[in-house]
């Protein structure tokens, strides 16, 4: 059983926007803001994005990713806190078009992720045809929590 401090779960569950960093084969880092979907039971994160996006291209050639969520205090730097995640991302072989018509089964963990999407981002989620979209799953290997100068690392 891995002990993860409550505050880490809390930040990952509550933060809306996270910053995903990928790197291509030339080792050029790339950052994109994403909507954060975190499943605390499996230590996995999910995101939906365009098949043609730079991050999907990067992940296909180099699955290693890093993601940060944080709370910023513009007055006191000692109150800045955040969670940094290191993990491996995979682009799921899930045809979202076929999933609508019922031709393809949605894996149970992705179903849970979609439920989190719906409840957390109710105002921006709509039902329809997610054409040219893919689902990316991130398996977390390590989490680092910080508040001011104090750090706490958990390996999974």
């Amino acid at each position: 059983m891995i002990m993860i401090p409550e505050r880490m779960h809390c930040m990952l569950t509550q933060s809306l926007i996270g910053y995903l960093c990928t790197a291509d084969t030339r080792n050029q880092p790339h950052i994109t803001p994403i909507f954060v979907i975190y499943d605390p039971d499996t230590y996995r994160m999910y995101l939906q994005t365009s098949r043609s996006s730079k991050k999907v291209k990067d992940i296909t050639v180099n699955p290693k990713v890093s993601l940060t969520v944080d709370n910023r205090d513009p007055i006191n730097p000692f109150k800045n806190e955040g969670v940094l995640i290191r993990g491996d991302a995979e682009v799921l072989e899930l045809d979202l078009e076929k999933a609508i018509s019922g031709e393809d089964d949605i894996p149970p963990d992705v179903k849970i992720a979609f439920d989190i999407f719906k409840s957390k981002f109710s105002e921006v989620v709509s039902k329809g045809k997610p054409s040219e979209k893919v689902v990316v799953r991130i398996n977390i290997r390590q989490m680092v929590y910080w508040r001011g100068p104090k750090f706490h690392t958990v390996n999974i």
Partner: protein
């Protein structure tokens, strides 16, 4: 009306010296560096023969050699500069692009304005030399100057005058170009493209002009005894130097991001810095940062993971964004990717101005943060103490590519 220059005209756009270098055998068969070297060796051979024959004083021989080297270095610069000026890709649009093409056409105009300017310089110099004013000819060659020697002196004088004219022509046009580019871009209300690469290319070209001045410095001892020439060359160098520096400074102040993205970069307190180690492991953390209008700066602890990553791999990603708390889709972000540079103790000597500039930017942007750091210094781990260059390391990022977003896409789910 501005004439649009097509490819075939572009190939004709050459300076007189280039045409000579490319068409006179055997030099035309050689690449630029060897070409200039061959000319230099030929001139040296000629000089040795002449000086042996006419029994020239050793000091003058030395001066002549210095002069020939300077002229050769200028030639090399000229042969490097011309193709760069012709080839520079400046992805600007509309009026700016038209203006730049016009400026480039003047630079290599078929009427060869640079040659006329060279002739004017030549007439001024020879007029002064031959009118009996000044003592340079006597100082160099003694009272009885043989006509053959005088002929070669005049040929050499023309070489110098022509190269000075090119330097004045290029740097003057560069300054004029920068003034107008700045005006044109500032007058734009909307900016649907980013002229960053174009402006950077122009700045790099202007640095060439400064090397003209540096190359000219060894000439001063050879003309020191004559006030007219000394002051003349000083004024020339000053003109080239000042116009190059002014041009670079003007280009640095040209807005190259859309106004709202500019405001975002100037007003945001936080950024996200992405690095990657040698095993392609990405790493992203929030950072405070400063922006000087061209490059980005951040300060990091000497023991931080990102500094280790940057030492492994200088490529970084730098994201600045703004969230609208009332509407999550209404966000704005700009991503810079580029190379980073780490400043160390040695840079106190090498780049004091850069360090001072960065320090000033951080002090004015984060006065509150810096006060708190100072107040709580004793409680902090060593790596967090703000000892510049020792525990806090300055990193500068020169953007190479810029992407910006306005508004996130809504999520569409199949359930």
């Amino acid at each position: 009306m501005v004439r649009i220059i097509n490819k075939s005209m572009k190939s004709e756009m050459k300076w007189a010296y280039e045409i000579i270098a490319e068409n006179v055998p055997p030099f035309k068969y050689l690449p630029p560096v060897l070409n200039v070297l061959a000319q230099l060796i030929l001139m040296y051979g000629l000089a040795i023969t002449l000086f042996y024959f006419f029994q020239i004083p050793a000091r003058t021989v030395l001066f002549a050699y210095v002069g020939l080297i300077v002229v050769a270095a200028w030639s090399l610069l000229l042969l490097q500069l011309a193709p760069t000026l012709r080839a520079v890709e400046v992805p600007l649009e509309g009026k700016e692009k038209e203006f730049l093409e016009h400026n480039r056409m003047l630079l290599f105009h078929p009427r060869r304005y640079e040659l006329y300017l060279g002739i004017v310089f030549f007439i001024m110099i020879t007029g002064y030399l031959l009118s009996g004013h000044g003592n340079l000819l006597v100082y160099w060659f003694g009272p009885n100057l043989h006509p053959v020697l005088l002929f070669f002196v005049l040929v050499f004088t023309f070489d110098v005058a022509y190269r000075c004219a090119v330097a004045v022509w290029v740097s003057g046009l560069a300054l004029w170009r920068s003034i107008w580019i700045k005006r044109y871009i500032e007058a734009r209300e909307r900016m649907e493209y980013i002229p960053f690469t174009g402006l950077r290319n122009l700045r790099h070209i202007d640095l060439y002009n400064i090397s003209f001045v540096l190359v000219s410095l060894p000439i001063f001892p050879t003309i020191w005894s004559d006030r007219f020439f000394t002051v003349g060359l000083m004024l020339l160098d000053l003109f080239v130097l000042v116009s190059a520096i002014l041009s670079i400074l003007l280009l640095r102040r040209v807005p190259w991001l859309p106004p709202d993205i500019y405001d975002l970069v100037y007003n945001s307190k936080f950024s996200y810095v992405g690095t990657s180690d040698r095993h392609l492991n990405p790493h992203v953390v929030p950072m405070s940062f400063a922006f000087n209008g061209v490059n980005l700066f951040f300060m990091t602890s000497v023991v931080s993971k990102k500094l280790k990553n940057i030492r492994d791999n200088s490529k970084v990603a730098f994201l600045i964004d703004e969230r609208d708390p009332s509407n999550i889709l209404n966000n704005k972000a700009v991503l810079f990717t580029g190379r980073s540079r780490i400043y160390g103790l040695l840079d106190l000597l090498l780049h004091p101005l850069k360090l001072y500039e960065a320090r000033r930017l951080f002090m004015s942007k984060y006065p509150g943060y810096i006060r708190r750091y100072k107040a709580e210094k004793k409680k902090l781990p060593r790596a967090w103490q703000l000892t510049p260059l020792v525990s806090r390391i300055l990193v500068e990022i020169e953007p190479e590519k810029i992407v910006y977003w306005r508004k996130a896409e809504p999520i569409v789910l199949p359930i």
